[in-house]
């Protein structure tokens, strides 16, 4: 989707507050939102791609000013309701429906083990990749209404394959329950002048990791 979350190259976002922060979280609720998101995610009812899609699907006027963990919280409640883990009624009342079944939570030890293990996104190669290191490619002018990891600022531009990362789960499919559809993932190097024209700061390169369906030969 062409959302405001796709911020690369946007103007009007203001200066960066580069001052060192005092703490990892600005308020205790932020830490709880992080933990709730990871712990509820451990129920396995949605993928990381789906979770990202729900964050970026927040209304643009809400998304932009929202604090980071505010976006997480909003997307988490959406996912919980959408997946039927809680009902809208339970969300508004704050009380569990006595008639609803109880789930089994992931305990602390298992949760930490999951964090330590992670969830790799690479998959076995089933066919040879279409492009090789050094090939020139153009990022396609895609405009999918759903989730994608091809930023707008790269679309239509020509870069060079710098590295093959192997075969990875395709977010565009996985975010929408259409399966993992693993695809070769490439590191693509773009010259800043190609991306930004007169505004580019040479010498400067921008690298993106792009899946094969995002690319066409030049």
């Amino acid at each position: 989707m062409n959302g405001v979350h796709d911020m690369g190259g946007m103007d009007g976002m203001g200066p960066i507050d580069a001052r060192p922060e005092a703490a990892l979280f600005h308020a205790p609720w932020e830490a709880r939102v992080l933990a709730l998101t990871l712990a509820a995610g451990a129920q396995g009812r949605w993928t990381l791609d789906e979770s990202r899609f729900h964050r970026e699907s927040l209304p643009a006027t809400d998304y932009l000013p929202m604090p980071y963990y505010g976006r997480w919280f909003a997307a988490l409640t959406d996912l919980l309701v959408k997946q039927g883990l809680i009902s809208a009624q339970e969300l508004s009342s704050g009380r569990a429906d006595p008639a609803a079944p109880r789930a089994t939570p992931v305990n602390a030890k298992a949760m930490v083990a999951r964090l330590n293990l992670g969830g790799p996104a690479h998959r076995p190669q089933v066919r040879p990749p279409r492009f090789a290191v050094g090939d020139k490619v153009r990022a396609r002018h895609l405009n999918p209404p759903g989730h994608t990891r091809l930023p707008r600022y790269a679309r239509g531009h020509v870069g060079v394959i710098a590295r093959l990362h192997g075969v990875h789960v395709l977010p565009d499919s996985n975010a929408h329950g259409r399966g993992e559809d693993p695809q070769p993932l490439y590191q693509v190097r773009f010259d800043a002048c190609e991306l930004w024209g007169d505004r580019a700061q040479a010498p400067s390169l921008v690298h993106l990791d792009l899946w094969e369906p995002y690319l066409e030969p030049v």
Partner: protein, 218 residues
């Protein structure tokens, strides 16, 4: 931009959403947590364990150890270049948000800068959770199109001929910057070197200053 002062505006889009103050967020999050605990979806001890993990156990000290090892052990540096995920795992780091690691090296005339324009992907196992500025709209917007301007706001000025290499974290691959080893550290121990390595230097928004000469143990 002609703007730097506040502007009146009318958040009528909030509709009936009511209060949106931080204190309200705390209450909303608490209510959701209670509900999810009651429904058996999350274990309160697991929430505490997640927060404990990222507040105490996983943070930029991990990445600093990787950097110090790379500075002092040429064979390790080679393994890091060939397969950063495995080389980092040698030191015991890995898991969620670091399943697929790539190390990028600063050097004479080369400076690397990492961003995630689409959300806030960040190499958790080696750097912990991202700082607020990394997650900010402004950093996400400008790091790809105005990296020198961004670096200047962090107090980093590069020579005009230095090539800036920006890495936009669009996939599950995460990038760790290996900063330049400062002069005057010959013979330092890995521990002493690791203590020099700041979090920001491993994202690319800081350089490591040459240490002031000071009495040191052999």
């Amino acid at each position: 931009m002609p703007h730097d002062h506040d502007h009146p505006h009318d958040h009528t889009h909030e509709g009936g959403g009511g209060q949106t103050l931080p204190s309200d967020m705390a209450l909303r999050v608490k209510a959701l947590e209670s509900l999810l605990v009651e429904k058996g979806l999350v274990d309160p001890a697991a929430l505490d364990a997640i927060i404990e993990t990222y507040e105490r156990r996983i943070g930029p000290r991990n990445g600093a150890r990787v950097v110090a090892r790379a500075w002092t052990d040429p064979a390790y540096l080679e393994r890091l270049r060939a397969d950063a995920t495995s080389a980092i795992a040698e030191l015991g780091y890995g898991g969620r948000g670091g399943e697929h690691m790539v190390a990028v090296e600063n050097g004479p005339g080369v400076h690397n800068l990492v961003v995630c324009t689409l959300c806030s992907c960040y190499p958790w196992p080696v750097l912990g959770l991202p700082p607020a500025w990394y997650k900010s709209n402004a950093y996400r917007a400008r790091a790809v199109s105005d990296p020198r301007g961004v670096l200047a706001e962090f107090g980093v000025s590069l020579t005009a001929t230095t090539e800036v290499r920006v890495w936009d974290s669009t996939s599950e691959v995460r990038y760790l910057v290996i900063p330049e080893r400062p002069a005057g550290t010959g013979g330092w121990s890995e521990d002493d070197l690791a203590a020099l390595v700041s979090r920001d230097s491993m994202v690319g928004t800081a350089l490591i200053p040459e240490p002031r000469s000071r009495g040191r143990g052999a």
